[in-house]
């Protein structure tokens, strides 16, 4: 059983309703991933992004970032949460996903499409995020990732 997720929605004044910030705190359990992705994606439905990016890229990339944060960041520790902030503007959507773990070095993750690695079961998450978002950056600690989806 999962508890309902309650996002905090803030509309920034003076933007004609275009600039919106959604914050969501997600418990460190994998069964929350689908619901959390759904909640955020529904709030992004009016963002100036293509139907495909809204339907697919944003959902899959967020699911990956959340799973990484829950599994490798917070190590499924029930006392820790993953925080998501979605910032909507006329430029597109910025998704910030941060965990309470020690962080990691994203440059240490090898390319999963190199021939010897194609048949491996794991190790594709970060690669998929980089393919689906327009820009991916990490904070200095390596426990927070920012995914940018631009309106073109």
């Amino acid at each position: 059983m999962t508890l309902p997720l309650r996002p905090l929605v803030r509309r920034l004044p003076g933007s004609g309703g275009l600039d919106v910030e959604i914050s969501l705190s997600v418990p460190s359990a994998l069964e929350y991933v689908a619901d959390a992705v759904d909640v955020i994606a529904r709030h992004c439905a009016d963002a100036p992004l293509s139907a495909r990016v809204l339907r697919f890229n944003l959902r899959v990339a967020l699911a990956e970032a959340l799973a990484n944060a829950i599994l490798y960041g917070n190590r499924e520790d029930a006392s820790k949460n993953v925080r998501i902030r979605a910032e909507l503007s006329r430029d597109g959507v910025r998704l910030l996903v941060s965990d309470e773990g020690p962080g990691f070095d994203p440059s240490s993750v090898p390319d999963p499409t190199d021939t010897p690695r194609i048949g491996r079961e794991a190790g594709r998450g970060l690669f998929v995020i980089r393919q689906l978002a327009d820009e991916v950056t990490f904070n200095a600690e390596g426990n927070g990732v920012c995914l940018i989806f631009r309106s073109h």
Binding site: A34, V60, A67, T113, G119
Partner: protein
């Protein structure tokens, strides 16, 4: 999110993925397919016609199931991928690892 299993008249198991195949439910799919494999089934088609999205954990489970089924002398085919899902398989080069057909019927006919 749910998985349905049915056997066609030639004993091929067709697994329908309704909704998402992601980190939160991949074990359920894995267990259902492994149970069928244990029960003697050898040929499998996974039908993604009703699937919203798959994440890398979902892809990982497909890789692992495909290996396991081949080890048992069987075969796993994928069918019904929409344009989004097809792109995901191409990006990760997993389209080179799996036999993919447009419809489950084509996959069944190819066995």
């Amino acid at each position: 999110m749910s998985f349905s299993l049915r056997k066609d008249s030639h004993g091929v198991v067709v697994v329908g993925v309704d909704g998402q195949l992601i980190v939160g439910n991949r074990q359920e799919l894995k267990q259902k397919v492994l149970d069928a494999l244990e029960g003697g089934a050898k040929k499998f088609v996974i039908d993604f016609s009703k699937t919203g999205y798959i994440d890398s954990s979902g892809l990982g489970v497909l890789v692992s199931l495909s290996k396991k089924i081949r080890e048992e002398g069987g075969d796993l085919r994928l069918a019904g991928l929409n344009e989004d899902l097809q792109t995901l398989f191409e990006l990760t080069k997993l389209d080179t690892l799996f036999a993919i057909t447009k419809t489950p019927e084509e996959a069944l006919a190819a066995f």
